[in-house]
């Protein structure tokens, strides 16, 4: 283990900022303690206590990103299209992610960086992901929305992190997870330490044994889903705040005369328009159908297809739900009976 003193954190981030954009959780100006991950500038205050309202998944899946540019050019009688792809190559260091958010990166890797047959590698995700270094802040405390202990390793999860900071008196113990993390912790701001790691948070546990099967058994009981989700407003907050939700929309925008780009932006499976077909047919017309799909995607379909649960227990969907719906209550209802 390595140790870094609290007062050396700004120095560390300052040095990292020479070669990369540095992101950290910060209180949004003009708000009462709304915390978001944002680019950090020297002297900036970092908020490590309160939880961020959104995950930092935008670093690998920006809310909106250009897929390619196009330009129509005259060719004889008509026009031809010229297309130029985009290849993001940003270098970003993120400080203060939690183990649940970092784990979600590993979960997303299983989809976007898949090498399995019939899968496509996503070059945009890959470009951003390979340039990303994750310094995780281990949780020694939690709130009642947290439920990472429902999953294998809970707060001790290391997947997706490069370097994990464990808060101790006067600073942090630093445990490297990857080669990137080892290099980082080798610099002179750190020193060797034989200190014990602090005890990590024990969060609420939701029983997930057999959930995959129970979801399939419950699938056709639409009245069950209507009841379980009747207060759901069908907004997209839970999907957008979720570090593992990744569904997107694609749309075109023109920049001007016969030129523009195709973009993708976040989309949420809780929106009516998400599956609405141009014929007017909608396979998921009610919030109940959509919630069923959202839950089944996380705990049945994605595990089946990609070997990972599409939820890491960060609790944002519970903390921020405008309807006060507790995701865990729906999971429990599915498991019960």
């Amino acid at each position: 283990m390595r140790f870094i003193a609290e007062e050396n954190i700004p120095r560390l981030l300052g040095r990292l900022a020479a070669n990369a954009a540095v992101w950290a959780p910060q209180v949004v100006k003009d708000t009462v303690n709304t915390v978001l991950f944002a680019p950090w500038r020297a002297g900036g205050e970092i908020e490590t206590g309160a939880y961020s309202a959104l995950s930092a998944k935008e670093l690998v899946l920006p809310a909106t990103e250009r897929l390619f540019s196009y330009r129509y050019r005259r060719a004889g009688e008509g026009e031809r299209i010229g297309i130029k792809g985009c290849a993001p190559q940003e270098r970003v260091v993120i400080f203060g992610m939690r183990a649940c958010d970092a784990k979600a990166l590993a979960v997303l890797d299983a989809l976007f960086l898949s090498r399995s047959a019939g899968s496509y590698n996503d070059p945009y995700y890959q470009g951003r992901r390979s340039g990303l270094t994750v310094i995780t802040l281990a949780c020694t405390s939690c709130d009642s929305a947290c439920f990472c202990s429902s999953f294998e390793k809970g707060a001790a999860e290391t997947a997706g992190s490069d370097l994990i900071f464990y808060p101790v008196s006067g600073g942090y113990l630093a445990g490297p997870v990857s080669e990137k993390g080892k290099e980082l912790a080798a610099v002179d701001l750190f020193q060797d330490s034989s200190q014990e790691k602090p005890g990590l948070a024990k969060t609420a546990k939701v029983e997930l044994v057999g959930i995959q099967q129970r979801l399939l058994e419950r699938f056709d009981d639409i009245d069950f889903w209507r009841l379980a989700t009747e207060v759901c407003l069908s907004c997209g907050y839970c999907s957008y705040a979720c570090p593992a939700c990744h569904c997107f929309n694609i749309f075109d925008e023109t920049d001007g005369d016969r030129a523009g780009g195709r973009y993708r932006c976040w989309d949420a499976c809780m929106f009516y328009a998400y599956t609405l077909e141009s014929s007017g047919h909608n396979p998921r017309p009610e919030a109940a159908h959509r919630y069923r799909n959202r839950l089944a995607h996380k705990f049945s379909y994605f595990p089946l297809n990609r070997g990972e649960i599409l939820c890491t227990g960060c609790g944002r969907c519970i903390r921020g739900c405008p309807a006060g719906l507790d995701f865990r209550d729906v999971i429990r209802a599915v498991s019960a009976g």
Partner: protein
């Protein structure tokens, strides 16, 4: 963000389409047109290969792209064809296009019909309306390899005679003696001398035997629902029935999330499915 040179059709940049040019537009019905196109890069047109049932996304940069079945057969090397029904924003814009206009295409995507596993079997094809598009590709492919299969029977239904697509092809199919081609329209119509009645009724009136047979169906959800019921009534098992589905798609490569039916993604696991793979999910119509 830097700009990189573009590579092949779907390996490195699966969300980036290839520029193509329309060489012919065929008016199939009141709201259906077929578009024949070639890629601007001649190397791609030459190397292009696919299986019947596979799909592509065709679009107009600046407007958007939509998913269509490839309706030409793999043996057609001069062009690829998409048949497009005008239903929304993108398809309305596509319907404005004429020969010489530019489009951008991502194809082929998804899985086609497992035709090789059907060798020696009797083939039953049941299409409705625009659902005939992927079945046209399949039918012409089977005709290209006609000797490898048993009997071949095709039911094709539409609301009115004007809604029946592929008029030129139909004349040929009706005149061949190695295929039994039955077109039907929902109700009696002046000048229509063919069958009348809904597809499942016409099937029930001339029941195909399920032994050593494969049934393939594509069409509007309500037609599929009753056709499946009719076929199962005749003794076709779930493993003998195939369909090809169309869902709202954006990425076409299994990432954007919306086209799943249970754990299966129509864009990469389909659009061709055996009923066995879908079970009741398809009949239910809500997933």
């Amino acid at each position: 963000m830097s700009t990189v040179p573009r590579k092949g059709i779907k390996a490195a940049e699966p969300l980036v389409p290839e520029p193509a040019t329309i060489i012919d537009v065929i008016k199939e019905g009141p709201n259906i047109r077929s578009f024949r196109l070639i890629f601007d890069d001649p190397g791609i047109t030459t190397a292009f290969s696919f299986a019947p049932g596979q799909i592509g996304l065709m679009g107009i940069p600046g407007v958007g792209e939509s998913t269509f079945a490839i309706s030409s057969p793999p043996s057609q090397r001069d062009y690829i064809q998409f048949s497009v029904m005008k239903t929304g924003f993108v398809t309305s814009a596509i319907h404005e296009l004429a020969a010489g206009d530019a489009v951008a295409v991502r194809a082929p995507l998804g899985c086609g019909f497992p035709v090789d596993s059907w060798k020696g079997k009797n083939i039953l094809i049941v299409g409705g309306g625009i659902g005939m598009a992927p079945l046209r590709s399949l039918l012409m492919h089977i005709l290209d390899r006609r000797k490898e299969f048993g009997s071949l029977r095709v039911f094709y239904g539409a609301r009115t005679p004007a809604d029946l697509c592929f008029a030129g092809d139909r004349v040929q199919w009706e005149n061949r003696d190695d295929i039994e081609f039955i077109a039907t329209v929902d109700e009696k119509h002046p000048g229509w001398s063919g069958h009348t009645g809904l597809v499942p009724q016409v099937i029930a009136a001339q029941p195909p035997a399920p032994e050593n047979a494969v049934a393939v169906t594509c069409g509007p959800p309500v037609m599929i629902k009753y056709t499946l019921a009719a076929l199962q009534q005749l003794g076709f098992t779930e493993a003998q029935i195939y369909t090809t589905l169309e869902r709202k798609m954006k990425c076409g490569i299994g990432l954007c999330g919306r086209c799943n039916i249970g754990a299966k993604y129509v864009c990469i696991d389909g659009p061709v499915f055996s009923l066995d793979e879908l079970k009741n999910r398809m009949v239910d119509g809500r997933w």
